[in-house]
């Protein structure tokens, strides 16, 4: 899951090729990486799509971005999407 999140972050921050090397599980998604509001929502949507979860935007709190670890823990508590994203994915 961590690698997937790193891939998504790097695709969102495509203008910062050095980002991948600097990322670590302890990094704060808000303060250390500094996604702007548009990048943040694109990131969340990509996470939903690629990790097959549903994020409740009305309930989301920036506390979940304290570190990539914290964010993964939050994602693990999210409900899975009802439909598999790909036909060969088993729920």
């Amino acid at each position: 899951m961590y690698e997937k999140i790193v891939d998504i972050l790097c695709s969102i921050k495509e203008d910062q090729p050095e980002l991948r090397q600097s990322l670590s599980p302890e990094m704060n998604l808000n303060n250390d990486i500094g996604l702007d509001s548009l990048q943040m929502i694109q990131f969340m949507l990509k996470v939903e799509e690629q990790l097959n979860v549903v994020i409740d935007y009305d309930q989301f709190d920036y506390e979940h971005l304290q570190s990539i670890h914290t964010f993964i823990a939050f994602l693990n508590r999210c409900q899975p999407q009802e439909q598999p994203l790909y036909e060969d994915v088993k729920q």
């Binding site: 303060n31 250390d32 990486i33 500094g34 509001s37 548009l38 694109q42 989301f60 999407q81």
Partner: protein, 465 residues
């Protein structure tokens, strides 16, 4: 809170930089978004950027007190204005405003403050109002002042600022349209599925702004997720109304700036090139002659005239900015959206009015930053000066900071809230450093910006963009 020179004020410049939020119909469904309180505070403090519209006898009425060192510096460069403000976040004697009070439209704040401020306000009420944008509170403010200003009514302003209006206007003047209006989640999915066959597309909120209210959809899964999000809101009684546009192969973003006088006459102001990144505003610079010639050959200015005539016929008066695009294949998209208000490109054009006499032009841009503990704005000015990066004399080269509270607001709020005990952890307060970069050419401007980034790094300031 107003300097006591006994000179009549000729113009009062003020406004809120998030009018779209205030114009938006609350019964419309929203695209998913992440609430970012840091961003909100910064945007509320962008009204400081309106100083280029002021002359020496004009008042800039801002939400927060401009850092005195910045005002002195700007005055020294030929940007003279008198400052008035609602909040001084540095004044520990003054209670911190509640968040819902701090967020109020500037006209409402001015109205509230005016109730306790007799003499200065009579002076202000006699001045012509130059708003950033007209909101519901503008009319209330004017009514309280007992003056009639030649400003368009709110209904007109809201109507012409909607992306739906600009989309329909293109049809009226016989121009090509790229967008498709959709009025439900199902319709959005239906139209989106067709668009996806040719590539990614944008979903645009009628009142979406840079970085908020526009979403890029590049696959069916994401589309389904957005549609579900909208359906949930429709089930709660909200209406979906969006514009869907294919992601065009863009070469250049630019904007043209105009003024519609009370008489209906139209003044051309400027064409500005926009340095956008993805769907986010990244800066403005006066367009080169080569771009102007391309636009003339493409009949761009004729389209603008037709559009402005319609805006005028529809009752709009004041500043207008058309966001436009030049595509990679040479095609010009004349109207991406209409901003019937002041705008960032216009601010740059007005800063350039001061540089014009020296045959110079500035690049207005910003850096998103995170501040270290104990940071003060004056430290930045001093470091810029010591490094030789600061634009120090009129007609010189260098970097001119344009606003203080967009940099400091979250640092000041978190420092004060921690002292009060209403906030536990400091985090890294975010800010935006708006600057005008005056250089010989693109290369020199790039060099100055690299210097600025290095200087910020030396000051332990994080740069996010």
């Amino acid at each position: 809170m107003l300097s006591s020179r006994a000179v009549a004020i000729s113009q009062l410049v003020m406004g809120s930089f998030d009018p779209e939020t205030r114009w938006r119909d609350p019964n419309l469904a929203r695209l998913p978004s992440m609430p970012d309180p840091d961003r909100e505070s910064i945007v509320l403090c962008m009204d400081e950027l309106l100083f280029p519209f002021c002359g020496p006898d004009d008042v800039l009425y801002s939400r927060c007190k401009i850092d005195p060192a910045l005002q002195t510096y700007l005055n020294g460069l030929g940007f003279s204005f008198r400052a008035r403000y609602r909040f001084d976040l540095n004044d520990e004697e003054e209670l911190l405003p509640e968040q819902d009070v701090f967020k109020r439209c500037m006209f409402r704040l001015a109205l509230d403050q005016g109730a306790n401020d007799g003499l200065a306000d009579r002076e202000l009420h006699a001045a012509a109002l130059s708003p950033y944008a007209i909101t519901a509170d503008t009319a209330a403010y004017l009514q309280a002042a007992g003056r009639s200003h030649p400003l368009p009514d709110l209904e007109t302003v809201v109507r012409v600022n909607s992306k739906i209006y600009s989309h329909r206007l293109l049809a009226t003047i016989g121009e090509k349209r790229y967008g498709t209006e959709t009025s439900s989640a199902s319709e959005m999915e239906e139209v989106g599925t067709i668009l996806l066959k040719d590539g990614p597309y944008l979903v645009k909120d009628p009142f979406g702004v840079s970085g908020k209210g526009n979403l890029l959809i590049d696959n069916a899964t994401m589309q389904r997720r957005i549609a579900d999000h909208l359906r949930k809101q429709e089930a709660n009684g909200l209406r979906s109304h969006f514009l869907l546009e294919p992601l065009l192969s863009k070469e250049i973003d630019f904007s043209s700036h105009w003024f519609i006088r009370a008489s209906g006459e139209i003044d051309f102001i400027s064409v500005q090139r926009m340095m956008n990144h993805q769907q986010n505003y990244g800066g403005s610079i006066q367009a080169y002659e080569t771009l102007i010639r391309v636009l003339e050959d493409a009949g761009y200015f004729g389209v603008m005239e037709s559009a402005l005539r319609l805006l005028s016929d529809d009752g709009y008066r004041g500043f207008v900015c058309f966001d436009s695009m030049l595509l990679k294949d040479g095609e010009v998209v004349p109207i991406v959206e209409i901003n019937a208000r002041k705008s960032m490109g216009l601010i740059n054009a007005y800063v350039d009015k001061v540089w014009e006499q020296y045959d110079l032009a500035g690049w207005l841009t910003f850096l998103s930053i995170g501040l270290p503990e104990g940071f003060v704005f004056e430290r930045l000015l001093r470091a810029l000066s010591e490094s030789g990066l600061l634009l120090a004399v009129p007609g010189g080269y260098g970097i001119m900071p344009l606003s203080s509270n967009t940099v400091m607001v979250n640092e000041l709020l978190s420092r004060r809230r921690m002292a009060e005990g209403s906030q536990g952890r400091r985090g890294i307060p975010k800010g935006r450093l708006y600057v005008s970069v005056v250089g010989r050419d693109d290369e020199h401007r790039g060099e100055l910006m690299r210097g600025l980034r290095q200087l910020l790094s030396d000051l332990s300031v994080r740069v996010y963009n």
